[in-house]
């Protein structure tokens, strides 16, 4: 009978820890969504993915180590779910030629820029829709890294851990992903110019 108060104490502590965990996770939802929105292919997919992620996180809260990066932990669940849900019909086009270099987009925009000399004005020749569309066209393997690092502000090391790939692969996919994005942007900018 003596064990009962101790058990009650233990359950109360656990309940308190769990509530705190849920509150912390929910407080991060805006930041998780910012990344999830572009890991998923559409707003609807992002919505479902967020709900699946949080449902799983709340069920398996005990596997989170307090004091570690909760945002990375949530995104690891989210990227795994994204893969499990078979949203990777697209194979990584490792073989696809990518003739565009890093300077390609700027050179194209500046060419059509009637002598615009301010780089910020050159950027503004791109519309918000063009950018959203161009990002959605970047193949998943590259987009995952691009979104985590450039939109989610994760370090190379965090992105490597979330996606379970080596840091070197993060770097090469990031560089290539940015080039693919710029090639897509250059194409849409050129279409509009003609």
């Amino acid at each position: 009978m003596d064990a009962e108060p101790e058990e009650g104490q233990r359950l109360a502590t656990e309940a308190r820890d769990r509530v705190r965990f849920e509150e912390d996770a929910l407080a991060l939802s805006d930041q998780v969504y910012r990344v999830a929105r572009h890991l998923a292919s559409s707003r609807e997919d992002a919505d479902e993915l967020m709900q699946e992620t949080y449902a799983r996180a709340f069920r398996s809260w005990r596997s989170f180590t307090p004091g570690t990066n909760m945002r990375a932990w949530l995104l690891r669940i989210l990227t795994n779910l994204n893969i499990d849900r078979g949203r990777r019909q697209q194979r990584a086009p490792q073989m696809q030629p990518l003739e565009a270099n890093d300077y390609f987009l700027y050179d194209k925009l500046a060419e059509n820029g009637d002598g615009i000399s301010d780089e910020e004005q050159v950027v503004e020749r791109l519309s918000q829709d063009d950018i959203v569309t161009a990002l959605s066209v970047v193949p998943h393997d590259f987009r995952d890294v691009l979104v985590l690092v450039d939109l989610g502000d994760f370090s190379y090391a965090d992105a490597a851990q979330i996606l379970d790939i080596p840091v070197g692969t993060v770097m090469s996919r990031l560089h290539r992903g940015r080039r693919i994005l710029k090639r897509e942007l250059a194409e849409s900018a050129l279409e509009e110019a003609t």
Partner: protein, 76 residues
């Protein structure tokens, strides 16, 4: 001898990500100091990154916030 602008282009992404070694950083900066074209292209890349972040940022829908909260496991 490789084209200095081509070399500078190779350095651009790691430069802006702050992952170059001191020596590589000094090399890139030496070229940038004397090449207006590369300077502009670097400046453009920096502006582009900021612009892309802004352009694709979508606030989380309020309905989703409510749905996520409802997923919490009730206390017994």
């Amino acid at each position: 001898m490789t084209d200095p602008c081509a070399h500078c282009e190779q350095m651009m992404q790691p430069y802006l990500d702050h992952v170059l070694t001191d020596e590589e950083m000094a090399q890139a900066e030496a070229h940038l100091a004397e090449c207006v074209d590369c300077q502009r292209r670097y400046k453009f890349e920096e502006s582009l990154r900021i612009y892309v972040r802004k352009a694709v940022n979508e606030p989380m829908p309020e309905e989703l916030r409510v749905k996520l909260s409802a997923l919490r496991i009730p206390l017994e």
